[in-house]
């Protein structure tokens, strides 16, 4: 896929659209007609050429516009980036990890040169060049975590491992599915997963925590999560609920194809070297129902998933108000034929 960066918006006039190439590589998350919450963690090994998992961090056609949207959100609410004082080693780990991955995987867009601790970073799409001393925060225009967090698509939470659990002790969160960094920062694993329905009785969170506590450097993992969003809006935060919450009342069976978007999160987890922290990356991919329906197999699959979704999950994902409208819009694509197992489009 080419890296021609699009000029588009994720607010106000919502000009965001996916190119046919972006639709083709969309990380569609439903291999079966039924969906139930699961840990579904797998090794974050390189996927096929062109896939969103081809590289450590995915840079796509929306890169420049998403970084711009992130900057707007941070300008309006600087509290979307927070880091507790003991996370400084983790901040530098994050800076090194993102700079090294981007420069290695996208050498035409990014470069990193090192002379001992004197580093120079070049970000061509955003027109940035920065020389600094690794480990000396005074040589950067802002903290190392925020500096690079603004230059990568998606949200990032840094997890400190202590007391037999993980604490969300730093984060840069501007494209969240209705959760608040200000509320969650400093929380432990079981505290911030408390509201997830159906999982306590399944023991899912205990097993996932145990797995992540032994996550190894060099062996990152990933999973997909999903929800829905009305309009292609990245910042669906509780802080800004008045700006987007009401849109959920505007969906009907005629406009659902345009307004309703499937929102897929590619969640990846990486163990950091110096801090022993875990980087939790939450990358959001949006696709409208109209775009999805360019592959009828996906429209059939999603029709069945959404129609038969467990009521607790409908409520948790915040799609109660428009579930029926979207199911009605999608039903025209579903002839009831068995489409087998797998997430692939036609």
């Amino acid at each position: 896929m080419s890296l021609a960066f699009k000029q588009e918006t994720f607010r106000d006039d919502y000009t965001f659209r996916n190119s046919p190439e972006a639709i083709r590589r969309f990380p569609f998350p439903f291999p079966e007609d039924q969906y139930m919450y699961s840990v579904n963690i797998e090794p974050h090994t390189p996927g096929p050429k062109g896939a969103v998992t081809e590289f450590t961090l995915d840079v796509d056609e929306h890169y420049v516009a998403e970084c711009r949207d992130k900057a707007i959100t941070l300008e309006q609410d600087p509290g979307r980036c927070a880091s507790l004082p003991h996370m400084m080693d983790a901040e530098w780990d994050f800076l090194e990890f993102t700079m090294e991955s981007l420069a290695r995987d996208y050498p035409e867009q990014f470069s990193l040169s090192k002379n001992g601790k004197e580093w120079t970073w070049v970000n061509r799409p955003l027109g940035l060049e920065q020389s600094f001393v690794f480990g000396d925060a005074a040589t950067l225009p802002m903290g190392p975590f925020e500096y690079m967090g603004r230059q990568v698509q998606g949200d990032f939470v840094l997890l400190d491992q202590r007391e037999d659990t993980l604490f969300a002790d730093a984060g840069i969160v501007t494209s969240q599915a209705d959760w608040s960094l200000a509320f969650n920062v400093g929380m432990s694993w079981h505290e911030w997963h408390g509201p997830v329905p159906q999982v306590t009785k399944l023991g899912v969170m205990d097993r996932a925590l145990k797995f992540l506590m032994s996550l190894q450097q060099g062996n990152p993992v990933r999973r997909l999560n999903w929800t829905m969003t009305i309009n292609p809006r990245l910042d669906t935060s509780p802080e800004n609920y008045p700006l987007w919450g009401g849109d959920r009342n505007k969906v009907n069976a005629q406009n659902a194809g345009e307004l309703a978007h499937l929102r897929v999160e590619l969640q990846t987890l990486f163990r950091m070297p110096r801090s022993n922290a875990i980087v939790f990356s939450i990358r959001c991919y949006l696709i409208s129902m109209e775009e999805m329906a360019t592959y009828p197999r996906w429209a059939k699959r999603f029709h069945r998933v959404l129609r038969d979704l467990h009521p607790d999950l409908v409520e948790y994902k915040g799609i109660t108000k428009y579930q029926q409208a979207v199911v009605a819009w999608l039903s025209r694509f579903d002839d009831g034929a068995d489409i087998g197992i797998g997430t692939q489009p036609e």
């Binding site: 003991h86 996370m87 080693d89 400190d160 491992q161 202590r162 007391e163 037999d164 145990k210 506590m213 032994s214 190894q216 450097q217 060099g218 062996n219 070297p273 110096r274 801090s275 022993n276």
Partner: protein, 317 residues
């Protein structure tokens, strides 16, 4: 699991029975940085069987040019430490795991009290680099049998003399855990690494004094104890494997080609936990991971160090 390949660049004898290995990237590149307290698992392809032992990294975590480990030749070794002492030469190439930290410094501690016994000094060598770099407040207490067993004592005295106290048992010098722990300011975390008796005494003293459980850290890597042979039945794999007396269940499963999960291989991390479906004998738990209640339930086992005295043991794998 991704592995690293290293070449032995230097071997030195640092004290009685302790050999020090300097490892560089086999392909001439940089090794990953790590955090003080991390260990690597070294794979030793001995004739007829493969040993995998965990060793703490003692070099500076910021130094990506090489790693350093120290290997104590265990008198009752099953073969791993003897292999490192006798078979590994300068120029040998070894597969190692990425660094894993099960003994990390707490980043919210007000003071760090480091307690080392013998070869247990190794993780603290790296942690001291981190504490010095971060300006952490700490003190190190290092006990050893005699001067000839005092690995790295001179280097420590040269580097951090004002923070390190040494205890030479042959001169009658011993740590008084009770007095030491009572003298610590609130917010102190204590870390112990060394012989089992020392670590257990330290931990029980701290608990008796009311220290919060999360302020007490210890690390011991166990070698799998030798026992009697038995038959291991794996229900999902539909396999029967003989576990020899000097082999762990994990090693026996790996030798049979079973993809069993594992990480530290020393009973500390919990990754290899398996469900027990049945046995005609009794489980012999040796790990530090399972709770006493878990051990008593007879339904879980850590195959890296634990075994059974039985004819057969059936696991859900």
């Amino acid at each position: 699991m991704s592995q690293l390949q290293v070449k032995v660049a230097a071997i030195d004898d640092v004290s009685a029975g302790v050999r020090h290995f300097t490892l560089v990237d086999a392909h001439g590149g940089e090794l990953p940085a790590f955090s003080g307290g991390s260990h690597i698992v070294v794979t030793m392809p001995a004739p007829g069987r493969t040993y995998r032992n965990a060793y703490s990294l003692l070099s500076s975590p910021e130094n990506r040019a090489h790693y350093e480990i120290a290997v104590h030749r265990q008198p009752q070794s099953r073969g791993g430490s003897i292999y490192m002492h006798e078979q590994v030469k300068v120029g040998s190439v070894l597969d190692i795991s990425y660094p894993v930290n099960l003994f990390a410094l707490s980043r919210v501690a007000k003071h760090h009290l480091l307690i080392a016994g013998g070869i247990g000094i190794t993780p603290f060598m790296a942690q001291i680099h981190d504490l010095e770099r971060l300006g952490g407040d700490y003190s190190l207490h290092y006990g050893f049998r005699s001067r000839e067993h005092a690995a790295f004592a001179d280097a420590l005295k040269a580097r951090v003399s004002q923070r390190a106290v040494c205890y030479d048992e042959s001169l009658g010098q011993r740590m008084d855990f009770d007095a030491l722990l009572r003298a610590q300011p609130l917010g102190t975390h204590v870390y112990a690494c060394g012989p089992q008796g020392m670590v257990e005494a330290l931990v029980s003293t701290a608990r008796a004094l009311g220290w919060p459980e999360h302020h007490i850290h210890s690390e011991q890597f166990l070698a799998p104890p030798v026992g009697e042979p038995f038959t291991l039945k794996l229900s999902k794999s539909e396999l029967e494997i003989t576990v020899q007396g000097d082999m762990s269940m994990l090693e026996a499963m790996e030798a049979a080609g079973v993809d069993a999960p594992s990480l530290c291989r020393g009973g500390a991390c919990g990754r290899c936990e398996l469900e027990v479906l049945g046995t005609d004998g009794e489980l012999q738990h040796h790990d530090h991971y399972l709770s006493d209640a878990d051990k008593a339930s007879g339904r879980k086992i850590m195959p890296c160090v634990s075994r059974a005295k039985c004819g057969y043991l059936e696991l859900n794998l």
